[in-house]
Symmetry: C2
Subunit: 179 residues, 2 copies
């Protein structure tokens, strides 16, 4: 069996964490993994049907009154697939960071504007940090690893802020010394 797309595993995982409908999954993703792995309805619904055909999830219609609604559960095979995937070693970290790309080309710019780039990166991460802290402060205890990943996000943002500050200072100092 060829392996699923990343989003396929997100769906399996979310069903494992208690999500029931496609709508559910989307909601949970938007409040959690979206920072490092998003998912849209345009993928979720077709993928759920695909997973069902593959026997990894089991869907039964359970409408709320006249509102149509379909509940999915992991099958044994689905849980096995998820666990197997969790066990495979990760590839090189796959980043896609536009702000880093801009920084890479900053030799094109006068120093002031380049510093501004660095400042904007820092600001972005400061906003990001604020958002994560807010999520962190919300009541209710997350499962161990859900909380762990949230802590990672916070640490990551803090790391980036500190790095930007250091480099801003370093560049300013170098500029002073050149003058």
């Amino acid at each position: 069996m060829e392996s699923l797309s990343g989003t396929g595993y997100v769906i399996l995982g979310m069903l494992g964490l208690g999500a029931r409908t496609g709508y559910d999954i989307k909601g949970i993703v938007d409040r959690s993994t979206r920072f490092f792995w998003a998912a849209s309805y345009g993928q979720i619904y077709p993928e759920l049907r695909h997973l069902e055909k593959a026997g990894l999830v089991d869907g039964k219609s359970s409408p709320t009154g006249a509102r149509k609604r379909k509940e999915y559960r992991l099958t044994e095979a689905g849980r096995a697939e998820l666990v197997q995937w969790l066990g495979t070693p990760p590839q090189m970290p796959e980043l896609r960071d536009e702000s880093l790309l801009k920084l890479f080309f900053c030799d094109e710019l006068p120093l002031e504007q380049a510093l501004e780039q660095l400042r904007m990166r820092r600001l972005g991460h400061e906003q990001f940090l604020a958002l994560l802290r807010e999520i962190d402060a919300r009541p209710g205890a997350d499962p161990t690893f859900v909380a762990l990943v949230l802590r990672y996000g916070i640490a990551y943002a803090e790391f980036n802020i500190a790095w930007c500050e250091e480099e801003e200072q370093r560049l300013r100092k170098a500029a002073r010394e050149a003058a």
Copy 2:
């Protein structure tokens, strides 16, 4: 004028840094930005033609003997477009980290296997770090911001390694206390 794709800007930027042919651009990307922004021939060649039509680059045929070859240069408009893009503020950091996604779902797993996940993430970043250090040790001075981004990669890998170690310890300690 609607804005270019990320790869469009990579091409402009690389031409700014001295790349001349599509082949050149691909080579430089593979040795530098590929860690946070890759590019394939399947994109580069069509995009170069597209940028030429848009007047952002200027291409002239300059074969090496009978081997066909086309040299591109940034036009004034192309440089302006690049600088303008560099000046726009970045969005939220857009991460796509499969290993983090796996960690997120580790509550499904017995602690030993979950710890193994964390260990594998660490190993991945250790390899990554080794690779970047190797690149860093290569002779030849990079432009300021090219070097800055390389330093970022190294710091990022080190941060991740340290974070994994800390969390491994924390989880082990929590497990001991629970026992």
